[in-house]
Symmetry: C3
Subunit: 307 residues, 3 copies
């Protein structure tokens, strides 16, 4: 593995240079080879203890990180807010510093509020991995998307990636717009006007789906939070589907064989036409599998990759 | 251990032949010897990861499986619906296929809806163990009941086993009626008319407790779901107790020393007279202990016993 | 390690003699050296399985015990009442005896009702460690307080320890009043009249903060349960703060450099002036760190220290 030094934390990609990101994805490639073995376990993190600290529930992400850590022989403890003393009025800071005193070696932190991981890394002695903070960032999701895209497209250099859906409230869109250009890609973000931010650093914005999809090398549909509709931010579901659902006909606007991604969990027949979600064009399940390899690589790099 | 091939899944007993079931119970016997040691741990499943996926809570069953897996050195991840994305509208199928992409080696699945495990085994690449699906089946409970009965009675050949209580809503009754006759026993199921199904494959039905208990070699009382009363399916609790509670006097109708079983958790002084539950006639605690050995054997057989 | 025999359980300190307590704290000292290593793991409890059984949620305490057990290579299973069958009407006793049949080697038990661990140790074959029962006792908290105080003060012999706050409802106060005098200290408990018990064995009582703090070698502030106010047991929060908050000015009444402790989680700017909580006088974070060492020592002593 690379001898380069790495940022101690993974909060977003501000501190990460292209060479470091490339090295991380190479490590993920090696981890994928581990995962192809019958016994998917290496001793790389024996004796380390990582904590998943989830102030917002997400079983899928938590289990993915937990498995990644255990497959490198680390111990894992889980802290979720529902059973936590935050209900008793303790602050995020006190909770995290308490865990820090218990000798945790790395924190995998998910919060409903944006920016908490960025504060947390100043409170804590040990690495913080952002597993999603509000609308702000979800860097391991972007890394697994990049890994999956490279696996399919060979390289991201000069590629056009279309991201479609509720861009405004999406940490997945933000993190991909930050990461993919660092790896050479061009990102176009597309959605209804009410679901687009004023600007999205790293991406161009459009409300026109055809414009976004044309010449795209890959299309990423985002999860639609149905809760948004209640707040009037969203047109009706039929209107959304009429304008922005990725159908087989619309996917034909993109380059031939352009793959289709989705961070999951999917609302079937909303973001993506049902049959398309299960077609060979869809990389949705491959994304989940690659999430294992990428998260193993991230844990390895923040914990021991600095040597 | 036996060189015979085994069904890949344990959904119910349709695919399991008597010889395979006998071999499974022999393996459980060997596991029980492991459990009698001070260090109750063997390396049989080192490197394997099993997931407990519970869409209906059951700490008792989940912990029993989790301990069984860990005692064979497997890793375990837990997914429960309360913390899951099913609340976000994801389907059972998407949840399970997502886990499948993470490289899980076997699924221990509990659902409130009947039939989900039978569908799940077609979605998943790896073995599915049914840990209870609605009213339909709870095969490891029946296996531990059979194991406990054989331990006490020597063999099930020609034995009469009485099952008493809410037969209609009981997956335990259904699985025992399916399993015990395969091992040579005769099953009589008994309860108030409103709590009996039209028929129960593998068992004869009666509303007459004395008829059920007479000449019985063992008596199994089922848990009464008090919720049923609200739906008018159940007579009042005093009526149930008057007619169907297993008391010392009624147990005397059965063969001398016929043991008493209950799948737990018990409603004290409802299904069984309180003092009887703690008497030497009761095998309730032994059932729990044997559950460990049986679940270790099931995991071993579906994961590596096919060699 | 000491060859002395130890009580099998840690319910409170009634059965523990000073020599045994000293020996336990010496073992904790050795565990602290383990925790100072990069790989904080020893094989002392390989093959043992401990269960955390929490009928009252407390993530902080549960994780502390869980980490302590895992760092000695024990397996851990977690049972919490929210997901338990207690909701189904099963009694504490049945729940614990069920777990007992599964071959658990030690129980770490937290209950909202006082006295349950004292009953439990009669139902169970294996050691019970009380992790807090109602207002009654929280012995590992008192042990980590004692360990932290000795670390700072050298010895507890002849030292005056002031405990301030809601004494009436505090298991932490009760356990410290029981433990610290056994180690040679004198305890003064102080709070508003409505929050003082009639008597507190092992401590003298006062409503006068100055009297409690004068000549104190250390001050321990207790967590204020804001719920108490609703029941009229507590003056208003501003009144409490005016009379009993530990401020820099009031701490000056104690001996120079007398340290400040708090069992956590803290209500910031209630029990302790905010800036003081983060000052070098505060041992709050050290208490948490020492909790690891003390709980490892307790587990070691109840499980194997008897040899």
């Amino acid at each position: 593995m690379s001898g380069a030094t790495f940022p101690k934390h993974l909060l977003d990609f501000q501190e990460w240079e292209r060479a470091q990101l490339e090295s991380l994805l190479e490590t993920a490639q090696m981890m994928q080879e581990v995962l192809a073995r019958p016994v998917k376990k290496v001793p790389a993190l024996t004796g380390f203890t990582v904590a998943t600290v989830f102030f917002e529930p997400s079983t899928r992400t938590r289990i993915s990180f937990e498995l990644a850590a255990r497959r490198m022989s680390a111990d894992v403890v889980s802290f979720t807010s529902s059973a936590s003393s935050t209900a008793k009025g303790e602050t995020y800071r006190d909770t995290l510093r308490t865990l820090d005193q218990m000798g945790i070696d790395a924190y995998i932190l998910r919060t409903d509020a944006a920016g908490v991981p960025h504060q947390a890394h100043r409170w804590l002695q040990k690495p913080v991995i952002n597993a999603g903070d509000g609308w702000r960032a979800h860097p391991t999701q972007a890394l697994l998307d990049a890994f999956t895209l490279r696996e399919k497209l060979g390289s991201l250099e000069g590629k056009k990636i279309a991201i479609v859906g509720d861009i405004l409230h999406s940490r997945v869109a933000r993190s991909n717009a930050e990461l993919l250009p660092r790896l050479g890609a061009q990102v176009v973000a597309c959605g209804p006007a009410t679901l687009l931010p004023g600007k999205l650093p790293g991406a161009s914005l459009t409300t026109k789906l055809r414009e976004a999809l044309e010449e795209a090398d890959a299309v990423m549909a985002l999860r639609l939070q149905k809760e948004r509709m209640d707040k009037g931010l969203l047109p009706s579901l039929p209107e959304y589907i009429a304008g922005y659902q990725i159908t087989e006909a619309r996917l034909a606007w993109a380059k031939p064989e352009a793959p289709l991604l989705h961070p999951g969990p999917m609302n079937r027949d909303v973001e993506i036409e049902g049959t398309l979600a299960d077609s060979p064009r869809s990389l949705v399940e491959r994304q989940v599998a690659n999430g294992q390899a990428v998260r193993m690589a991230v844990l390895y790099h923040v914990l021991v990759g600095k040597r």
